[in-house]
């Protein structure tokens, strides 16, 4: 990826120059244009490739528009020598007119299909380090992060080691939201009743703003969070600090947290109830136990249908408690 760096910098330089004018002095987070993670970098590369392909059409069209409008304006026409009122067909021109867009879209389509597989969010990132798993739950109107391996939990911020793949498992205990950290990579929806997978990796330590990107009601605008990448040592130290100094999150504490409301300050917890994430995912899948035929009975066939349709990005929560663990393919 290093070789492609020059045009990324070029593309970022133009808006940055505009920004310098608009935002005299402040250091501004450029989000997508200032990627700090391997996924975000590849996504920016792809944007730039696609933009260049589009410009092959765009530039001639813009030139032709203004040139024709100027050249053939009525006021400028003293004689009608090249006025051709009935010229309305040319096989050659029409072949080019259809051909060029088809070729460009074909090239773009091939690139897109390749990248779609390469950057599939549920796919694990290749790395020498072992991935860390973070479970993400979107609530009304805050984010809960639980670390199944470390046993700690945080609200509206989380830390993780840079240069280590992070496997996010995402769900919602509220209306559908979307989990997005622009500098690290693209977003994925958080939905009740299922665990989604997103794999990201930060290339360097830093604080990366994250957003809730899908509207969830009144205080949706307050659903920002901070994703802080640190070194492995700092991360380990932070975990032990949280374990030593923060309060525990009880089930009751979670229920209170899940009530609609805004959390203004970031919080951390030294522990959280066992299996909390899986319980949230399976919250609505009570049919099987209580004897209703609705969701429970069909859950088995549901999940097999889904895999048949290659819904590889999601685990259906309805396929019982083990669903969230089935995503081990990403490790």
């Amino acid at each position: 990826m290093k070789k492609k760096g020059w045009y990324r910098r070029l593309a970022a330089a133009i808006p940055l120059a505009a920004m310098a004018f608009l935002l005299s002095g402040c250091s501004v987070n450029m989000g997508v244009l200032d990627p700090k993670g391997t996924i975000a970098k590849q996504q920016l590369d792809l944007m730039i490739i696609a933009s260049i392909l589009c410009l092959i059409i765009l530039v001639p069209v813009l030139v032709m528009t203004f040139w024709f409008a100027w050249r053939y304006r009525q006021k400028a026409r003293n004689n009608d020598s090249d006025y051709k009122p009935n010229w309305a067909h040319s096989g050659k021109i029409e072949a080019v007119m259809w051909g060029v867009p088809i070729v460009i879209i074909l090239i773009l389509a091939i690139i897109t299909v390749q990248y779609t597989h390469k950057l599939e969010p549920s796919k694990a990132i290749q790395s020498d380090s072992k991935a860390i798993t973070i479970e993400v739950t979107s609530l009304d109107w805050k984010w809960l992060f639980t670390y199944p391996d470390q046993g700690i939990a945080t609200v509206n911020y989380f830390e993780f080691p840079a240069n280590v793949p992070v496997h996010f498992k995402l769900t919602a205990d509220s209306p559908m939201n979307s989990f997005w950290i622009p500098q690290l990579g693209g977003q994925i929806y958080t939905m009740s009743g299922m665990a989604m997978n997103l794999n990201l990796m930060a290339d360097e330590p830093g604080e990366y703003p994250g957003k809730g990107a899908n509207f969830t009601g009144e205080h949706f605008g307050k659903m920002g969070f901070i994703a802080k990448a640190t070194t492995q040592d700092e991360f380990d130290k932070w975990v032990s600090d949280v374990k030593a100094n923060s309060p525990a999150l009880s089930q009751q504490g979670y229920d209170e947290l899940a009530e609609p409301g805004v959390v203004d300050t970031a919080k951390s917890y030294s522990s959280f109830p066992d299996g909390l994430f899986d319980r949230i995912v399976n919250k609505y899948n009570v049919g099987a136990e209580s004897g209703h035929q609705h969701g429970g009975d069909s859950s088995g066939s549901d999940s097999s249908d889904m895999s048949g349709m290659d819904m590889s990005g999601m685990d259906m929560g309805s396929s019982a408690g083990s669903a969230a663990h089935d995503s081990s393919s990403s490790h």
């Binding site: 409008a69 693209g186 703003p209 009144e218």
Partner: protein, 656 residues
């Protein structure tokens, strides 16, 4: 008792916001003024006979356009309120709840109650005249369509003062819009407002398909039809395939909310993802429904004002029809981020890109129509010239959005907002403005002031770029749509400020258009020729405004742009085509049933919104009674005698 009334009223009426009180007062005063003016000038009978019960496609078209412009005003005020809220960080001009209502109503109104009726208005004005028909195929149904749209729009707008506006976003994704998270009546206003007007849209689609297929003048083969009529056919076909999906989807959501069904709920086997799929199976074709007729308008305008035949007629037709087919296979690109997996995403990414091909071809067609023409830059042509660069840039960002892995970074950000405003304003709004300016003389018999129109044009255009170009960058910087506020630390202040300025420039542009219309009414420049633009198609062969029967004798068509060819022949000294003798003209009679029936739907919808079956059931009974009454009404048509046709023609041609 008094307490109970007070208690009811505080829940029933929207209270607590000075903006809304202000609007309440304005609405009441406007209504009093309208009633007073109509009574003073004794115009009630005239209003009822000439307009409300009219089945004349030209009058229905004008009513659509008036309603659409009013809705454009409301949707525009919503937009400016949002831009005012976002002008600076941590602004508390609007509370989050109020902001959420405003972006919801802005979206619904602009697409469903502004773009759609403006489009139907232009369909009604132009199609029958272009194809040489006396009216649409089903004039009664046409009137019913209009009134259903109008009542649906009024029901939706009523939520502003009664009960509370919907606040779940313009497509109302569940589970947010289920009773569980949105217990208020706003969401029910949304469902019923759209349902009632949606039936009207579906019927209009059917009406225009039949009109175009069955009512063309003798000799006008399909491949000799004006391009606007082709675009209407493509759009109408898309309507009849897409709108039933919307109706069913919203009906299921209604069952969830009203009867506690579980189609899209979280519990008991419901699946919100199904709603998101269904709504976009309608929603994506919907954007092509509104943009295809704009393409048709541009085709007419470019050809007329370049004084040249449209380049690549067959390519154009093929492009139109292929867009309306492919538009049904792209819906999932609205949620690449739902985790459907790489194969599904790749399919929908590629199908979306494919649409760029015919669209690109159309742009080349218009450019080559200008090539070696004689271009005069009257208002319709100016808007077309503004459209091409704007739409091409918007199309390019659309292609970027279709690249699925990149879309993970664009999705739900201001990049997306900027993209769809660029294609919807640059494509649809500019197109309909071009169409309005183009057919205005045919509608009203006078032309609009060019100078004021140019002011409006430049304000809109400069305002557009100032407003939306910064939003692309804001999106890339991570600004998400539907944020009611943002912090100083985000660094989004400068760009938002610029964007708001642009929004207000467009608002001023709109005021110039209103001024332009009022000024042109005051200092009227009558169009005495019936053909102010040196037009090419049949609508310009008759007087302006068109007589109620459109064509005194049925026109006969030999080629594409028949009226232009006829003028060429006359100029070359050939004798005009002999006109057949006048015959009595068979016309449909006016009917009061459409407006009454639509009003019954309004009552029923209002009853369902508040779960008042005592109101909903009589409303539905009223609908059934209207249907029966119309079924047994055989007095539906009459003949205009030859004498009257002669008198009308003589009066209309006097200026020639």
């Amino acid at each position: 008792m008094l307490d109970r009334i007070k208690d009811f009223a505080s829940g029933f009426f929207v209270t607590g916001d000075p903006l809304i009180y202000g609007a309440d007062v304005a609405i009441v005063l406007t209504m009093i003024a309208v009633v007073a003016v109509l009574s003073y000038f004794k115009k009630w009978g005239w209003l009822w006979k000439e307009w409300l019960t009219s089945v004349d496609h030209k009058k229905i078209g004008i009513m659509y356009i008036i309603a659409a412009l009013l809705m454009l005003f409301r949707g525009g005020v919503d937009a400016l309120l949002m831009r005012t809220q976002l002008v600076m960080p941590d602004n508390d001009f609007l509370k989050p709840e109020h902001y959420n209502e405003i972006f919801t109503t802005h979206g619904v109104i602009m697409i469903l109650f502004m773009a759609m009726p403006l489009m139907f208005g232009l369909f009604n004005i132009a199609v029958p005249l272009q194809i040489g028909a006396r009216d649409v195929a089903f004039p009664f149904l046409n009137s019913l369509s209009f009134w259903l749209f109008f009542m649906g729009a009024m029901l939706f707008n009523l939520s502003f003062v009664i009960g509370g506006s919907p606040n779940g976003g313009w497509l109302a994704y569940p589970p947010l819009t289920e009773k569980m998270f949105s217990p208020g009546v706003g969401q029910d206003f949304y469902i019923w407002g759209i349902q009632i007007s949606g039936i009207g849209s579906l019927m209009t689609g059917i009406n225009f398909i039949i009109t175009i297929l069955k009512m063309r003048a003798p000799g006008m083969k399909l491949m000799k039809m004006p391009m606007f009529s082709w675009s209407v056919l493509a759009s109408s076909l898309t309507i009849i395939l897409a709108f039933p999906i919307l109706t069913v989807t919203l009906a299921l959501l209604f069952l969830d909310r009203f009867l506690g069904a579980h189609f899209f709920s979280l519990d008991a086997g419901g699946n919100p993802m199904m709603y998101i799929n269904l709504i976009w199976m309608w929603g994506h074709p919907e954007v092509y429904i509104v943009v295809l007729p704009a393409f048709g308008i541009f085709s007419e305008v470019v050809s007329t004002f370049s004084k040249k035949k449209l380049f690549g007629y067959k390519s154009m037709v093929f492009a139109l029809m292929s867009i309306s087919v492919v538009s049904f296979f792209t819906w999932a690109h609205h949620f690449f981020t739902m985790g459907s997996g790489a194969d599904v995403n790749a399919f929908f990414a590629v199908s979306t890109m494919i649409i760029a091909i015919p669209t690109g071809v159309k742009i080349f067609n218009w450019l080559l129509t200008m090539y070696k023409g004689k271009i005069s830059f009257k208002l319709p042509m100016l808007w077309t010239m503004a459209f091409i660069p704007c739409f091409v840039i918007g199309g390019m960002t659309g292609v970027l959005l279709s690249v699925a892995p990149a879309d993970f970074q664009f999705h739900n950000s201001y990049f997306l907002i900027a993209h769809f405003h660029q294609v919807l304003i640059g494509g649809v709004a500019f197109g309909y403005f071009a169409g309005l300016y183009y057919w205005w003389p045919k509608m009203f018999g006078f032309t609009l002031n060019e100078k004021l129109g140019k002011w409006a044009f430049w304000l809109w255009n400069i305002g557009f770029y100032v407003c939306f170009m910064p939003q692309y960058l804001l999106g890339l910087m991570g600004m998400t749509r539907r944020y009611s506020t943002y912090g100083w630390d985000t660094g989004w202040f400068g760009l938002n400020l610029v964007s708001t300025i642009g929004g207000f420039l467009m608002g001023i542009g709109f005021l110039f258009q209103v001024w332009q219309i009022l000024h042109s009414i005051r200092f009227m420049q009558k169009d005495k020729t019936g053909d102010p633009w040196d037009g090419r198609t049949l609508e310009w062969s008759i007087p302006s405004p068109a007589p109620m029967y459109n064509f005194a004798t049925e026109p006969r068509v030999g080629e594409v742009d028949d009226w232009w060819e006829e003028k060429q022949r006359l100029a070359a000294g050939q004798a005009p085509q002999p006109k057949p003798a006048l015959e009595p003209i068979h016309m449909p009679k006016n009917s009061g049933i459409p407006i009454i029936k639509a009003a019954c739907w309004f009552v029923a919808g209002f009853g369902f919104v508040f779960d008042w079956l005592w109101l909903a059931i009589p409303g539905l009974v009223g609908v059934a009674v209207c249907m029966l009454a119309h079924s047994f009404n055989y007095d539906t048509d009459y003949y205009i005698p030859v004498d009257e046709i002669k008198r009308t023609e003589a009066a209309a041609r006097r200026g020639v």
